[in-house]
Symmetry: C2
Subunit: 225 residues, 2 copies
């Protein structure tokens, strides 16, 4: 494929990473445009008034905002789509887990960690609150126990086929892993699931991400961790 | 239709109201099961481990959790479905706005207001924080300006047909209106849009909702306000 497509993203935005994984899995050709949540950008607000990421510009004329709208659009319009397949009930289960990560995990774990460790620092130079970080890491345990249980049931999070649920979970978890926040030895089934998805070609670009001034954990890019 | 279906909901949960509107619009026969966000309910957690509302039990054997998964499932499986219709691009626009309300509006406006005014009181008896309420009401202005602009462009929020975007927006706004928080005279196009959707038969059940100890605003159930 050779479209002029662009994804407006932020390297440590999990919702952006979900779409990067999905686009790369289907071998879309696209350019990444960097945005930073702590910088107001009037040109970007003209494209997406909510100001949130990601935004996908396909072929210069189609503009889609938000990870759920983009991911559904890609599944609807890609001839080889297979990440939201199966019966309506199966699709409902994929969407339930996608929401679990995009919503519950993000607000209970991902956003507080990102805000304390990165956004606050760049926005105002303020120190991270250790109380907020401790609460988020404690919340994370429940999520990892559930993920570990899911990964132990099947090949993938929903049944035997890779789906958007795996990409959403992996996208969110990859940010925590960037910070070295995951006690992988406590969650062996989740660890093998993550190693499997991390080894896919579509994951490669994420593993070479580096945010200036924020160093990834030593094992972040290792496939055997 | 005569299925044994149940919707687990909370009267002032906007996500639950979105599904109540959609089910009523398609004339599904269903029973409401009340839950209260401040009460832990192990039986309910066995159905939906995330603990969030709504959850739809269809015909006693299908269980779907979360407003997005449920709303997509209803559209996929209802013969007369028409609330997520049109081209993929049009559907992406409906989903973008649905996300705007389910996510952005909810976390910036709806949840803080509900938490301060209702959840905190029932959970711990604590007083509402006037600072948090003021911030949420100030955030609401941006949302209402945008809604007013959208309502002024077309018959409905996305084009000329009623869609899930209208139901999601109306569900969230109906909670604010329950509390009498909306300065309708400042947003005339949004007000006529809301009056139009409020007059639909599917809206009726919402207008007779009463949460014990929390009285709705005087105009809440009026069709001409």
């Amino acid at each position: 494929m050779n479209y002029k497509s662009q994804l407006h993203h932020f390297a440590l935005s999990a919702a952006s990473r979900l779409i990067r994984l999905q686009l790369a899995e289907y071998q879309y050709d696209f350019t990444l445009i960097n945005h930073f949540p702590w910088k107001r950008d009037e040109n970007f607000l003209a494209i997406n008034p909510s100001g949130s990421l990601p935004v996908f510009q396909f072929n210069n004329d189609i503009i889609i905002s938000g990870s759920r709208a983009i991911s559904e659009w890609i599944e609807e319009t890609t001839a080889t789509s297979r990440l939201l397949a199966g019966s309506s009930m199966h699709r409902a289960e994929i969407r339930r887990l996608l929401d679990w990560f995009e919503d519950k995990f993000y607000y209970e774990v991902g956003l507080p960690l990102l805000h304390e460790r990165v956004i606050k620092r760049f926005e105002s130079g303020a120190d991270a609150s250790s109380v907020i970080i401790r609460t988020a890491l404690s919340n994370a345990q429940v999520h990892f126990e559930y993920l570990n249980w899911l990964a132990d049931q099947n090949n993938w999070l929903v049944g035997t086929q890779l789906s958007l649920a795996d990409f959403s979970a992996a996208a969110h978890i990859s940010i925590m892993d960037y910070f070295g926040d995951i006690q992988w030895d406590k969650y062996p089934a989740a660890a093998s699931w993550y190693m499997k998805i991390k080894s896919r070609p579509c994951f490669r670009a994420l593993l070479s991400d580096q945010l200036m001034g924020v160093t990834p954990s030593s094992h972040y890019a290792e496939l055997d961790f």
